[in-house]
């Protein structure tokens, strides 16, 4: 039977890989009798569905100066290689 420490690890792994049948069964058995780990599992699932992809389409853009600086720096490095 898993301890809470082991069960929390397997519950976390379940979000990132497919559990073996043995792990899955042991996790279910532990969760059936442990409200604390059920809460942990609920918490990390909520965490996973809440953190969102940062908005890479947001309005952050290179300023004209930045762009020019970038061009100059790269050009001078390429010239002096």
């Amino acid at each position: 039977m898993y301890t809470c420490k082991q069960a929390s690890r397997i519950a976390s792994d379940a979000l990132d890989r497919k559990l073996t049948w043995y792990e899955w069964l042991n996790l279910k058995l532990h969760l059936a009798i442990c409200a604390m780990c059920r809460n942990f599992e609920q918490n990390i699932h909520l965490l996973a569905s809440t953190v969102k992809k940062p908005d890479d389409t947001a309005a952050v853009t290179l300023s004209a100066d930045d762009r020019e600086q970038l061009r100059k720096n790269i050009q001078s490095i390429l010239e002096n290689k």
């Binding site: 301890t3 809470c4 420490k5 082991q6 929390s8 690890r9 976390s12 792994d13 979000l15 990132d16 890989r17 409200a35 604390m36 780990c37 809460n39 942990f40 609920q42 918490n43 990390i44 909520l46 965490l47 996973a48 569905s49 809440t50 953190v51 969102k52 992809k53 940062p54 908005d55 890479d56 389409t57 947001a58 952050v60 853009t61 290179l62 930045d66 762009r67 600086q69 970038l70 061009r71 720096n73 790269i74 050009q75 490095i77 390429l78 010239e79 290689k81």
Partner: protein, 197 residues
């Protein structure tokens, strides 16, 4: 311009800046907590590295995906350099489980139910700030792994390959990141919400 480097070569980089510069810059900014100066440096390093390695680009992924992959490496290198190497090693070798569990493997402090909908939380700016602050407290490697997995939705296999870590280390890091974030959010958000309701 005095003399252009073998013009086709230079033109290639110019095109990259024009087509992907903004995207790469945004990508870097969002992962560096808005540190625009470092973001610009890393975009520059990325373009130079890409230029050096462009013959390796197979065209199997889109050019943007390829450039973004290089940028990710640069961000990771930067994070590594910023934190001391031994601290990074600690991420994996030191077991902070005693922070959360007794020697018998039981919780020190019982996790409680979180009553909130993901949609409502995602749109709550105050929550977003607390979440960011909690993520800032994670050791760098944990933060990166968590970011790539949960925010970028990268596969576990890709993350292990990109960061040169073993699957078992990856799962240890994810477990620890979730334990820390869960604790931090309970302390600074969900616990407070319960108190106020």
């Amino acid at each position: 311009m005095a003399h252009e480097p073998a013009s086709a070569e230079w033109q290639r980089v110019e095109e990259w800046i024009a087509d992907h510069g903004d995207y790469l810059y945004r990508f870097a900014c969002s992962r560096l907590n808005g540190d625009r100066e470092t973001a610009l440096d890393l975009v520059q390093e990325t373009l130079l590295a890409a230029w050096k390695a462009h013959h390796q680009y197979q065209g199997s992924s889109s050019l943007r995906t390829w450039l973004t992959g290089i940028l990710k490496h640069k961000i990771i290198d930067h994070m590594r350099a910023r934190s001391r190497m031994e601290k990074l090693a600690d991420d994996v070798s030191n077991d902070p489980a005693s922070d959360w569990f007794g020697t018998d493997g039981h919780w020190h402090e019982s996790p409680k139910t979180w009553s909130a909908s993901p949609e409502a939380l995602s749109e709550n700016r105050d929550f977003d700030n607390i979440l960011k602050a909690c993520m800032d407290k994670l050791p760098p490697l944990q933060a990166q792994v968590f970011f790539f997995r949960e925010m970028d939705g990268d596969s576990s296999e890709d993350i292990c390959k990109n960061l040169s870590i073993s699957p078992s280390n990856f799962h240890v890091l994810m477990h620890r990141a979730r334990l820390s974030l869960r604790h931090c959010l309970e302390l600074h958000w969900f616990g407070q919400q319960r108190k106020n309701s």
